[in-house]
């Protein structure tokens, strides 16, 4: 048996490589994504994923309710619907927002396919290529992907323990405008921020609004975690509850109910809402109708507020396990935030340790996290990692922090051996960021 003369081929394996839009530049496979595929294996304690734990939802009863919905109202629930979202859904959404002090009219709500689509539509409405979006340092990795896809430039604004620093915000706006940049909006996650876990204080929110008014800047408030307050202190009112004119509010059922339904919303000033609606119809015709009916039914027939209280108890135990584990296992020189809610703890590693370079060693030790560089666009975050406490049980979290501690102790030993101690900033583009189920 002999092989025939070879057939000639000269290929890059992608016929369309010269045809893609400029904005797809950088959309490539990364080694970090490959590592995350290992994180999904059960042997690995994944402190990387931001997936809510929905195992405690009343699934049997929900199944019966869905069955009834299809039988009794299926022709409407499975049909195209309103581009703005079903009225009954928008009314229920206003009930949810009322818990955070927001008084809203259902007419000003646009239902979206998850709050991710809400952010996508808002960015589409406001950003031309080269426009600037201001965001916390660090900021939500999914938002970075959205802003990049519209070729907006992201400029980070520093945070402290009370959230975004208003003076830095003002300076950034003025500096950028003086340089001829169009600063379109501030994107902020004020409650239990993803990834830092930090919450903006009420005073800070008022100060930010004052800066925004002075500088004629729109605020986009993304609040997926607001109702997942884990400590007993008073919830901080949403920024939108303090100002109805300068704030676009993004909400979601992904963390308080279930992300698979993909239902979020945008509450926007009237004029913006009109354009949002047109953009929404152009993008998807209508948000998922069946999902809206299911959620509306759930909120009518079930104790959804009681379920949120149950979620809080469950997440509190996991958060406490993580803080206990970190205190027990992290080497000297490591620090971390103490979130009062949400899903995430932000860890700062000892000087010279690069969380991105450390990840393969961690995955080998069967623990995963998200390197901090994924949450910045300016190369910062190499000494940081985001740990999430939402999905693994408290016992697994304790084991995960133990493994992580061991990995870090070993890494410090190696660094000592090689005399490495200099923190080298590393750039990571959005393609190095985790996949949506991780983010």
């Amino acid at each position: 048996m002999h092989l025939p003369d070879p057939l000639h081929r000269d290929t890059v394996l992608d016929t369309y490589v010269d045809h893609y839009a400029e904005r797809t530049h950088g959309m490539s496979v990364s080694a970090v994504r490959a590592l995350f595929s290992v994180a999904n294996r059960p042997e690995v304690v994944s402190l990387a994923g931001g997936m809510p734990n929905i195992a405690d939802l009343p699934r049997i009863e929900l199944g019966a309710a869905v069955d009834r919905l299809i039988r009794e109202n299926g022709t409407q629930a499975m049909q195209y619907g309103s581009g703005q979202g079903e009225l009954v859904m928008r009314e229920r959404i206003c009930d949810v927002m009322a818990l955070e002090g927001i008084r809203a009219n259902p007419d000003d709500v646009v239902v979206t396919c998850g709050s991710s689509q809400g952010l996508d539509l808002v960015t589409r409405l406001f950003c031309d290529p080269g426009d600037v979006v201001l965001a916390e340092a660090p900021t939500y990795v999914g938002a970075i992907g959205t802003f990049n896809s519209y070729q907006a430039e992201i400029h980070h604004v520093a945070m402290d323990d009370d959230g975004l620093r208003p003076d830095d915000l003002r300076t950034a706006i003025r500096t950028l405008r003086a340089a001829g940049k169009k600063v379109k909006f501030l994107y902020t996650v004020p409650n239990f921020q993803n990834p830092s876990g930090i919450t903006q204080s009420l005073e800070r929110r008022r100060d930010l609004l004052a800066v925004a008014r002075e500088e004629d800047l729109l605020i986009v408030e993304d609040n997926p975690y607001g109702l997942l307050q884990l400590d007993a202190d008073e919830p901080t009112p949403a920024i939108r509850s303090l100002d109805g004119d300068n704030v676009i509010y993004l909400g979601s059922f992904s963390k308080t109910f279930a992300p698979g339904f993909r239902v979020g919303w945008v509450l926007a000033p009237h004029a913006v809402r009109e354009r949002l609606l047109i953009a929404q119809e152009a993008a998807t015709l209508c948000p998922p109708v069946f999902s809206q009916f299911v959620i509306s039914q759930y909120m009518t027939d079930f104790d959804w507020k009681g379920q949120i209280v149950a979620f809080r108890d469950m997440y509190r135990a996991r958060r406490d396990a993580m803080l206990t584990g970190l205190a027990e296992h992290m080497p000297a020189g490591t620090s971390w935030t103490h979130p009062r809610g949400g899903f995430f703890v932000w860890v700062t590693l000892p000087e010279g340790i690069d969380a991105y370079a450390l990840l393969p060693r961690a995955v080998t030790a069967k623990v995963a996290y998200v390197p901090g560089t994924a949450f910045f666009t300016d190369g910062l975050g190499s000494r940081n990692m985001r740990l999430s406490f939402c999905f693994p049980t408290a016992e697994r979290i304790l084991e995960g922090t133990r493994r992580l501690g061991e990995v870090l102790h070993n890494e410090l030993e190696i660094h000592k051996t090689f005399g490495l101690g200099v923190d080298v900033p590393r750039h990571i583009d959005a393609t190095g960021a985790p996949a949506p189920n991780i983010s």
Partner: protein
């Protein structure tokens, strides 16, 4: 069912996934092979490296395993050792052969004994640096190999942990980076030249080399992104090298395959340098994804991926039967 498949009445168990850093690539390779064999009408099961594998192999009718688990236990002989203990016919290298081939610090000197040109190499475990102190060793390595030099994990693939070091100051970080993937790190002289991949297959009449695939990454480095993002690398097959050099590459790939006893399938990575081809490393479970080089070589040879995979399965089963008969 095609005529080819009708001649094979067993079950092909495509084994993919695992826990290595190349899991994602392995899953893609596995899905591709499984689909190709199903399209031929074969009975195909897919499995990850989980306890269910035992049950699957016990209950499947006349199973032959086609392992495409890249890196770690998939290539270091561990998984193949288990399959040998279970006495299941398996496509590709034996456990012992895989163990030799996977570790670059062992594979390179072994292949050199077959008269194959290899780069100058040294390999050191982490402990040596810790116990003897890193600085003198680093200085000696720099002196021995000069710059640029290559630092890479002894055990691993997909260029994870690979660095081309151009100056002494970069060396410590490159070593630490490689240790993230493997407890032993390999240091090699850097060979500048045309990068080619040569697949080696055995369809029953001995190992034969597939046409060499030339690799031209757009970024200049054939790293993880360049390997697995369509459009990032230009592949030319057969490689644009002189016919005698191409023949030398083919001979080199087959020599390494034979020396290491890699059975039905391997891929040699070769650099055609100023003094001719140099063998860099081999792979016992080469990538078979849409962007992998072996499928390009298969296509250029006028073979179909599906029919070739089935041929390899048949040969593996025959080899297994012969061993029992002998």
């Amino acid at each position: 069912m095609s005529a080819a498949a009708s001649e094979f009445d067993g079950t092909i168990v495509v084994l993919a996934g695992g826990l290595s850093h190349e899991r994602d690539v392995s899953l893609r390779s596995g899905r591709r092979v499984a689909q190709a064999l199903r399209d031929l009408g074969c009975s195909v099961l897919e499995s990850d490296v989980t306890p269910e594998l035992f049950w699957m192999l016990q209950t499947a009718s006349d199973p032959v395993v086609f392992p495409v688990v890249h890196g770690g236990v998939g290539e270091d002989g561990s998984l193949r050792q288990v399959l040998e203990l279970l006495d299941v016919p398996t496509v590709g290298a034996s456990a012992t052969a895989a163990r030799l081939a996977f570790d670059k610090s062992i594979c390179t000197p072994v292949v050199a004994t077959a008269g194959v040109r290899v780069p100058r190499q040294a390999a050191l475990p982490q402990e040596m640096f810790q116990e003897l102190g890193a600085q003198p060793l680093i200085a000696r390595l720099a002196e021995e190999f000069g710059f640029p030099l290559v630092v890479k994990p002894a055990r691993g693939g997909s260029a994870l942990g690979y660095s081309k070091v151009t100056q002494a100051s970069e060396l410590p970080a490159a070593i630490v980076g490689a240790f993230s993937y493997s407890p032993v790190v390999v240091f090699e002289e850097f060979i500048d030249g045309v990068e080619v991949a040569v697949g080696v297959i055995d369809r029953g009449s001995g190992p034969e080399a597939l046409p060499a695939v030339e690799i031209r990454p757009r970024s200049g480095a054939y790293d993880y992104t360049a390997r697995y993002t369509a459009g990032e690398t230009r592949f030319i097959v057969p490689a644009e090298i002189d016919a005698d050099v191409a023949a030398e590459c083919a001979e080199m790939a087959v020599s390494a395959h034979v020396r290491l006893n890699l059975a039905e399938l391997s891929r040699a990575d070769i650099i055609v340098g100023p003094d001719g081809p140099v063998f860099i490393e081999t792979n016992v479970a080469p990538g078979l994804t849409e962007t992998s080089t072996v499928p390009l070589g298969i296509e250029a040879a006028g073979l179909g991926l599906a029919s070739l995979c089935l041929d390899l399965v048949r040969v593996a089963r025959q080899r297994h039967l012969s061993r029992h008969a002998g």
